[in-house]
Amino acid sequence: MVTAASVPARTGIIRRPTATTGWWSWFTTVDHKKIGLLYGFSAFAFFLIGGVEALLIRSQLAKPDNTLLNADQYNQIFTMHGVTMIFLFVMPMSAAFFNYLIPLMIGARDVAFPRLNAFSFWVFILGGLFLYSSWFLGGAPNGGWFGYPPNSTTDPSIGMTFYALGLVITGIASSAGAVNLAVTVVNMRAPGMTLFRMPVFVWMGLVVQFLLVFALPIITVALFEMLFDRRWGTHFFDPTAGGQPLLWQNLFWLFGHPEVYILILPAFGIISEILPVFSRKPLFGYQFVVFSGIAIGFIGFGVWAHHMFAVGLGPVANTAFGITTAIIAVPTGIKIFNWMGTMYKGDIHFDSPMLFAVGAVAMFVIGGLSGVTHAVVPSDYQQTDTYYIVAHFHYVLFGGAVFGLFGAMYYWWPKVFARQLNELWGKVQFWILLVGFNLTFGPMHILGLGGMIRREYTYPAALGLTFWNQVSTVGAFLIALSTLVFILNAALTQRRSKGLANEDPWDARTLEWTTSCPPPIYNFEEIPVVHSIDEFWHRKYVEDKEGRLVRVPAGASDHPADGHKEGHAIHLPSPSFWPLVAAVGLPVIAYGVLYSWWLVGAGALVTVVGFMGWAMEAPVAE
């Protein structure tokens, strides 16, 4: 896509924009790095919103029989907390890192389809705003992020219709992004960058994109069926007409369990990048880490009914899914042991990225172990729908994924912004987060086993649940404090003038660090030629006769100097308006489904015009 010499320049419907600076350029950009930043900032904003919702939940539960929120408000808030954190924070934040880093890590100048990339982002953000507009249009979704019918299909408020439509929209964004990134990894690698020389982060990215490609259509169908039931009175999940609510559960979790790995595998990739750099050793058992990631991807489609043990599927189904669930713990365990092997006898440096990575591994292990206890069906009967489950999935998804993502922010901040986040404040943030996190979610194990059920907006004092709920609430505010520390750290860092003393501050191993900080728009002056795993490391170090590492003096390497020259001979696709135009039509269609067929027509027209303009556009502005 870099050169398109065979297509003569022609005038499209309108002039293709050229500006790559200025605020308007953010609306037309097709540069994977800018799109990565857009994803990152939007996802972080949703993280803050979802966090405020979490604080409201914890404040409501801080004392028994509390009246801060009523049941209806509580339902909306816990539903939107889950939907936000999963679909509007962790997924797009992972997409941010994949977008920014995958082309740099494989030696490419952009993703395979730059405009499709922009389209994915705009569809995602518009879908998120569409979901949030429900607060002002009659009430937010209130049936849980899992949306079980018949509760979700018979609820009289408009919220769950927003849920169905909004998640279809964000699903379109993720599907388009997944196809794009998967093709990028398969097809855009630099010479010599064989699959088994790719950084593990890229591998995990590839697995995640395949999971998205195969899991999202299933939830899309389920959401359409819910939408039809709610909007047009069909009977998909209507037991009075012979429909089975269980169908929703099967479709939802057939998506929902791969989704869990969609959320955690990016963090596994991040951990696999950070640990070797800060242990100053190559990743232990690279092939094992890669293949266990692939194995998780496959087995992840075969464990969905463990979310439904208490439904009454019968002993055969429950046993089978209990066994597959125990099996999927094996590749995950392999990864944990490989990470420990990576650190073993390493020259470990506990900089902030490393703290978060090690923290993620430790917290994930706790969540993984409580997960194994639900794989045992009789034990799960006691735990299902209690706070024990809430504790479990927060340990894996917050403890694993969110700690990993924070580690990634500290690690790649210099690459993206040419400034280093303050180490001291980074460590302060980590320790407040670690303590706050464990205070919040640790007691939930006790609460759950003590009989506190999920999704209830309050509890009576007589149950004796008050103390641990209060501890949990204090912990939640500590998490908020640590987030505040992060924001202050980032804001103060950004006020410093640009420029790093060393453009390779961590002595890193992978190709993205061969570029300047931030990378030029074309990424690489010359496409690098790759000779090994950890290519950049091998360009910096050789072994002497005794097998000791010796740094190659600058300029003595036989690789072309990665000098930062002007890349005038490089043709990149110009920015474009059309992805935004095509994306704008989708929420209009969705509002039309709620309010008027005219809007559906108008939205469809906008989207079709957007795609037409897109197709007719010359690759480079005249």
Partner: protein
């Protein structure tokens, strides 16, 4: 997907040697398999589960639908002829076959609209029973896919006519063709599952 038409330069160097657009189209179609898989599964799960009529055997006109199915399958042939013409660089003939493909598709969709209308008048609405619900949604999703395909075919014709396709016009035709054949193949499954396999006797 829309990248198919404008700038998939055939000279592009890729790791696999395959054009990125083709890989993307295959991946998209793989995803579509799961979409139709879930819809067809829903239909099959609810076969014979309707608690009230009308039932399929009272509604279906197999002869009518067989003809419109034949029309849709014939459009795969004209699609192949369009691609062959494009590969021979006979672009006028290519456009002719593309228009023929679109017209056959349009005939199919028109037939579906007629079928839906007559079923509705015979008392089967999307709300009537599970059969109506699953039938209209499954075949409706397919009809929307055919319609999108028709839009893509007509855009190809227009762009080729206006000289806006790349020199190698066969490539975008092949890409749209992949989608078109996929939609046809899905119809073979839907037609078999929905119309041809006899439904179990209604429960009540």
């Amino acid at each position: 997907m829309a990248d198919t038409t404008a700038h998939a330069a055939p000279v592009e160097h890729t790791s696999t040697g395959l054009p990125s657009t083709k890989l993307a189209m295959w991946l998209f179609l793989a995803s579509e398999c799961l979409l139709f898989g879930a819809l067809i599964t829903t239909y099959v799960l609810y076969r014979g589960a309707s608690t009230t009529g009308p039932y399929p055997n009272q509604i279906f006109d197999i002869r009518y639908t067989s003809v419109s199915s034949f029309v849709l399958l014939a459009s795969s042939l004209t699609m192949v002829l369009a691609l062959t013409a494009a590969e021979q660089r006979d672009f006028a003939r290519m456009r002719l076959w593309l228009v023929a493909t679109a017209m056959l598709g349009l005939t199919f969709v028109g037939g579906q609209v007629y079928e839906f209308t007559s079923f509705y008048h015979e008392g089967l609405s999307i709300k009537s029973n599970l059969f109506g619900t699953t039938f209209y949604v499954l075949t409706g999703f397919h009809g929307v896919h055919v319609t999108v395909g028709i839009l893509m075919l007509l855009s190809l014709v227009g762009m080729s006519w206006a000289g806006r396709l790349p020199d190698d016009q066969a490539f975008p035709v092949e890409m749209v063709g992949l989608y078109w054949h996929f939609v046809d193949i899905v119809w073979i499954v839907i037609f078999t599952v929905v119309y041809l396999i006899p439904q179990p006797k209604p429960a009540g």
